[in-house]
Symmetry: C2
Subunit: 335 residues, 2 copies
């Protein structure tokens, strides 16, 4: 690591658009951030051509470490991490463990990223299970939602720990003063919730160090009625994808209707500035990074369908997390 440099290991082979879009995002990030150094792991012959257009400055901060194996998107996660010791994903994570890199990023197999986080990078001593969190743009504010898929079902203690980690993330990384932390439930009344949620509620209510506001319901998430929303990974996974599909679907219907009608096309011309403003506000590609919280190093996941701009966004998020000592903040808060 150079003086004042931030080194991130980037799995260049992970995701649906690897290595091309991953490399393009890497170049974008190095052009933008003069302190960023990237180590791309993967098939060097396939990677190099995509780095050719980088400026001299960026080029000097883009290294390639060859890896001959790739973890496939549908592989059994734990097995893949255990057996594919020379995979691009595992190599990136080993660089975090050894300290050669301050963090790593992959758009690959989510389960394998979580398994690698636990098996290669290692859990924080006070954490039973790590969680994937995602900052969502809502009507009122940024809401940090976790877990969105590191685990499937969670015990009360897991939900409790997610809440504490989410609180730290919201405070230290997003910069919210006294984050409102809530549990996602099927109603706001105390009698609602399944057993895990109810027990986590009791545990959180007793913790005086966070601003726990109780339950929120499904519609409170898009309205932004909390800074941190905690749920299990099965739920987080489904609602995140459901929301994605709903927004894309609405877009498709609008395009179809546009194709059938003439007047709306004229109307759209007038509306373009607004449409652009809306897109910018809800562009998930821009904030593509999903940190894996609870492991002993910076591990960030990008969406499997990430294009260059999403990789750029995720690298920015990873850099930010490192600069703000995210891992250390969580470790200290949970001790």
């Amino acid at each position: 690591m150079g003086m004042g440099k931030i080194t991130i290991a980037l799995d260049a082979m992970g995701g649906d658009n690897a290595p091309k879009e991953i490399c393009a995002g890497a170049v974008m990030a190095c052009e933008k951030f003069g302190d960023l150094e990237l180590v791309l792991t993967g098939d060097s012959e396939k990677i190099r051509p995509h780095l050719a257009r980088a400026s001299q400055s960026a080029s000097s901060r883009l290294r390639v470490v060859h890896a001959d194996e790739v973890v496939a998107m549908d592989e059994q996660p734990t097995l893949a991490i255990r057996k594919k010791r020379r995979s691009s994903m595992r190599l990136a994570m080993e660089m975090v463990r050894s300290g050669e890199a301050s963090g790593c990023l992959s758009a690959g197999n989510t389960g394998a990223i979580v398994a690698g986080g636990v098996l290669v990078v290692g859990r924080l001593p006070s954490i039973d299970r790590p969680a994937l969190g995602v900052p969502l743009p809502t009507i009122r504010r940024w809401t940090f939602l976790l877990d969105v898929g590191a685990s499937i079902r969670s015990k009360p203690l897991n939900l409790y720990q997610y809440a504490l980690m989410g609180n730290v993330y919201s405070k230290k990384i997003i910069g919210v003063d006294e984050p409102e932390v809530a549990l996602l439930s099927n109603g706001t009344e105390e009698i609602k919730g399944d057993e895990a949620v109810m027990e986590a509620r009791d545990m959180l209510a007793k913790n005086g160090s966070i601003n726990f506001t109780g339950y929120v319901e499904g519609d409170d998430v898009p309205w932004g009625r909390a800074d941190v929303v905690v749920c299990d990974g099965f739920m987080g996974n489904v609602i995140l994808k459901f929301g994605e599909g709903l927004m894309q679907g609405a877009g498709t219907i609008i395009s179809e209707e546009m194709g059938r009608r003439f007047l709306p096309k004229i109307g759209l011309l007038f509306m373009l500035p607004m449409v652009r403003a809306l897109r910018a506000r809800f562009d998930y590609q821009k904030y593509g990074g999903t940190p894996l919280l609870g492991v002993n190093g910076t591990v960030v996941k990008a969406h499997g369908r990430s294009k260059a701009s999403a990789i750029f966004g995720a690298l920015s998020a990873a850099r930010d997390f490192i600069m703000k000592s995210g891992v250390q903040q969580i470790r200290e808060a949970l001790e």
Copy 2:
């Protein structure tokens, strides 16, 4: 019951806009359907004024049965049904049990509707737990989603029975030929799912009588990649509300942006026909009825925030369910 008449008992005191909007919806439905007879249960003094404007024909098919108690929206459901024997909700359900009405509708306390369905109307002998289902307009087709909140967590056998009931509903009520029935999970691969979902999957795969297509993910719901989507009530409740909030939130942001900009307002004028078409396509108020499947009678729940048009929609759905012998179809399919 008159010759060829369809009698529905309507809880006139249930929901946030009772009794006014409930009564208005009742009048609308009786004006539209000449075969519909409604028995409104509740405070007769409060109800009658809202029925004054009905035509003579509709008026002759609008009866009021006085009830002096009301189940509140936040009351403990089972207790409320057990103790409030003269509540408008319980009276409506008792009319179904006694055969005085072919079905009942309430926009009141969801838990109490489910409890009343089980305790007053009674379960079908082959069903362990009833489910609330809702037909969702999606990009490609109508998708019937259940359970959306009759239970919280479900055992594999419950999910299995929901799938069978959803299959019957899609086939006989919506009119789909060979409904594609799927389980909602956190991925489409076989290794995904929690224990309950995985076991239900095995049970459904062995049942040759339905077209079970395996898992769908969150984004498959708005895209309409199945005719029937099965999940537990906790999940169903959250994603339904999440979707509602997301669509309302998007509308709010668009209005805000409109307020700030001049050109979009001109654009909107050109787009109004399209906006209207879109609204009509996604107007949940129009399809406000959520049948409680697995009980021995027609019990339909309407959204707590229902206005007259939603009550009209839910009454239409209840009438349709009765005309198509929905309860009998489910009973026969499950025997």
